[in-house]
């Protein structure tokens, strides 16, 4: 699987012919002049910059707002491929929510010995404060971004479940808008499933989990850490397109167990908070006392059932990298079915046997920090230098329980605009799932692309770009 020469090319088959979802696009690409895409890319970049569709880069001193490079060639998924993917995602998100309800209540799965109890109870992402509390409709993670990679015609793997505060959905929508502006003719020759309904569905999902769903009008807010957060654009975008207030912690206060926002007039009671700040910062009285971002007393108001927080506190346990290896068991335990989507085989470095194997094979595999994200703190064996491997080995030996390891997957590649023309580059896929009164999966998602030749790292913080993702309708 690790051999880069044998990756799956999503557009072209081994004979160099276009696969069926891409047939029209391949023809269209053929008769375009050499600088056509370059010019279109530039147009797109100007639009993004003017609209302020930027993300912040941590650690950079000047000009901390950057554009995520946008690739103008769409990634295409057929209707039948999508049906299978969405069935797999549906199964997975239902199982993860059932799992969270269980571990915060009777802990049947621990009693049954399917997961070592310590892995849950000693886990930083497990919030004892949530024990015994049942959120509306028993939903914990209302918004999930499932990271998928494709390795062959019919093989998709789930890489991560992102059950905390997944981001990127605004790019899914803005990329589509931009594509419709750049290439209207392509939308006439392809039946692309729309994504523009996402904010409305998000709003409906949030309303469906309000403490009192019978109320005629629910006051929903989006809680952001503020303008310096890397995903601030997305927070503003979603609040705007849902028609809800974008609030910071200081705009909210708790009085008599209820949450209110400070308006220019009377305080207004809040029913649902779509929060885009981490658990630890939600409420300085319950969690991190130094948090300036949260709302004192919020957690008590939540436990009293007067406000719904989405996603619920404590959902990090479901996308913890150490728990990841057990997700197939979790699916079987709660649904009684075999998982539709595969898990990447995972070595848990806290286990002596696994660690020994990992240390022997560092140059072939990927090692990730259990609590890391965004492509930081990881080793990609096949592309790392001898020195990087040697240095990583020391860190790994010192704190093995901080790491998991996986085989290097040959991520599929899609045609991408590069300096020399069009060339295959590796991609992943993050579809966005909403869970409330029903499970809603928007057809498409965010395709991230590693723009450097041969690179497997798609994170925007590490030089990755994005593409519009088309799910074709039958």
């Amino acid at each position: 699987m690790a051999d880069d020469r044998t990756f799956f090319n999503e557009m072209l088959d081994d004979a160099g012919g276009a696969r069926s979802p891409y047939s029209r696009l391949a023809t269209w690409l053929e008769d375009k002049p050499a600088n056509f895409l370059t010019k279109k890319s530039r147009d797109a970049e100007m639009v993004f910059r003017r609209l302020g569709i930027t993300f912040a880069v941590y650690g950079a001193q000047e000009a901390t707002e950057r554009l995520i490079p946008f690739d103008p060639i769409p990634r295409i998924i057929s209707a039948s491929e999508w049906r299978r993917l969405s069935a797999g995602i549906d199964q997975r998100v239902r199982a993860l929510n059932a799992f969270m309800h269980d571990i915060y209540h009777r802990q049947e799965i621990l009693r049954a010995g399917r997961i070592p109890a310590d892995l849950i109870l000693q886990n930083e992402a497990f919030l004892p404060e949530m024990a015994g509390f049942t959120p509306a409709r028993k939903v914990y993670a209302h918004i999930i971004g499932t990271d998928l990679v494709r390795v062959s015609e019919n093989e998709f793997y789930v890489l991560e479940d992102n059950t905390r505060t997944p981001s990127g959905v605004s790019y899914m929508m803005e990329n589509r808008e931009t594509m419709m502006r750049l290439f209207p003719e392509l939308f006439q020759t392809h039946r692309v499933a729309p994504v523009e309904q996402y904010p409305e569905l998000l709003r409906r999902t949030l309303e469906s989990v309000a403490p009192d769903p019978s109320k005629s009008a629910q006051t929903i807010v989006l809680l952001t850490p503020g303008i310096y957060n890397s995903a601030y654009f997305e927070h503003a975008f979603l609040a705007d397109s849902m028609g809800v207030e974008l609030v910071e912690g200081r705009d909210l206060f708790v009085d008599a167990g209820k949450v209110f926002m400070r308006t220019t007039r009377e305080p207004e009671q809040v029913d649902v908070i779509y929060r885009r700040i981490d658990d630890a910062f939600l409420d300085p009285l319950t969690f991190n006392p130094d948090s300036m971002l949260g709302v004192p007393g919020l957690f008590d108001a939540y436990r009293a059932g007067n406000v719904t927080i989405c996603n619920a506190p404590g959902t990090g346990i479901a996308d913890d990298k150490a728990i990841y290896a057990y997700v197939p068991d979790i699916i079987e335990f709660y649904t009684g079915q075999k998982p539709i989507l595969k898990n990447v085989p995972t070595w848990n470095c806290s286990r002596a046997d696994d660690l020994a194997y990992v240390l022997d094979n560092l140059e072939k595999i990927v090692v990730k920090e259990v609590h890391g994200s965004g492509g930081y703190g990881m080793l990609i064996g096949p592309t790392a230098s001898k020195r990087e491997i040697a240095e990583f080995r020391k860190v790994l030996e010192a704190t093995p329980s901080n790491y998991i390891a996986q085989p290097t997957l040959a991520l599929s590649a899609c045609p991408t605009h590069v300096a020399s023309g069009v060339a295959p580059r590796h991609v992943d896929l993050r579809p966005f799932v909403l869970i409330g009164d029903q499970v809603r999966i928007t057809p498409g998602g965010l395709t991230r692309v590693a723009l450097k030749k041969g690179s497997l790292v798609v994170n925007s913080s590490q030089g990755g770009g994005t593409k519009d993702t088309w799910v074709l309708e039958d």
Binding site: L51, G226, E245, R262, T263
Partner: protein
């Protein structure tokens, strides 16, 4: 509307107005320095710009030499100068960004593009020759901001708060310029010869407040006179930067806000009191009671109004 949103709209406009005012002061100083004046040192013009924008002390702490390069960098580009155009534009944009959902796309694009283009400018390239064009560009961008705001924003509470920010800053700026130069506007300084220091000062004050031409229409004989200039900038309602004009606008806006929310707040009474105080005043009385005291008192009242407004509407 969130109290913080109201506050951000207020400050977005306020900082934008400030950026334009400081750029205009630099323009006036540049113009003065380019023309040779009898008996004057070059430094006078630069001092005028620094004093009027209230950062002369900060400047002397950081620089030894008063020259075009240092003053330009300090007033336009410096991160250390709280009132530099750069800092005002950044704060204006940060406030706009905080209320992205509450302003129009046109307004956001005007603010965002100004900021993006401004920070791409290397201060080293703004030489003496390029300074006038650059200042004209800053000025045009400020007009674009205000035009986009007036043409696209809904006439609801958000609009009212943005107007308050704009005019509280503008009237403060006018009052401060007059107050730092009040000695040149005392009636006995009318007896001056044509090439005098005062004559230059009068002209600079009018230019700094975009009133050089309109003054000539307001006072048909067009002669520069301390009494008329002071009256023009303090009491004449048709002058868009006069204290009277600004407070009429503020009082009208406060009235509209009270109607919008169907409730009368103390800030409305304060605005009306200040506005009627100005419309009943004669220039002669102001001179009689002391110009300097009058202006100092006015600046205090204006601050008090802004504070009351932020209390009445829960600015965060």
């Amino acid at each position: 509307m969130l109290g913080r949103t109201a506050s951000s709209l207020f400050w977005m406009s306020r900082y934008h107005e400030r950026a334009q005012n400081v750029a205009r002061l630099l323009e006036v100083a540049y113009r003065g320095a380019m023309m040779s004046h009898r008996g004057q040192e070059h430094g006078t013009h630069w001092t005028f710009a620094l004093t009027c924008s209230g950062c002369d002390a900060d400047f002397s702490e950081k620089y030894d030499e008063l020259n075009i390069r240092n003053v330009t960098v300090f007033l336009m580009f410096s991160k250390e100068n709280p009132v530099s155009v750069r800092n005002s534009l950044e704060l204006a944009r940060n406030n706009a960004r905080a209320v992205r959902t509450g302003i129009t796309a046109e307004l956001w694009e005007a603010i965002n593009t100004t900021w993006i283009e401004f920070i791409e400018v290397n201060p080293q390239t703004i030489t003496q020759e390029r300074l006038p064009d650059f200042l004209a560009w800053v000025n045009q961008r400020a007009h674009l901001f205000r035009g986009a705001l007036l043409n696209t924003i809904l006439r609801d509470d958000g609009y009212f708060f943005s107007q308050m920010g704009n005019f509280v800053e503008r009237t403060d700026n006018t009052a401060r310029i007059l107050n730092t130069q009040y000695w040149a506007l005392l009636p006995d300084s009318d007896i001056v010869d044509d090439g005098s220091m005062e004559r230059y000062q009068w002209s600079a004050i009018l230019r700094a407040l975009s009133g050089r031409r309109s003054y000539r229409f307001a006072y048909p004989n067009a002669r520069l006179k301390a009494f008329n200039i002071a009256e023009f900038l303090i009491l004449r309602k048709e002058m868009p930067r006069s204290l009277a004009h600004c407070y009429n606008w503020i009082a009208d806006t406060a009235e509209e806000l009270a109607q919008f929310y169907s409730s009368r707040e103390p800030s409305l009474d304060l605005a009306k009191e200040i506005a009627s105080g100005l419309s009943e005043k004669q220039m002669r009385e102001i001179y009689h009671d002391g110009l300097h005291d009058f202006l100092t008192d006015f600046i205090g009242k204006n601050n008090q109004f802004a504070l009351q407004l932020s209390k009445d509407y829960n600015f965060a």
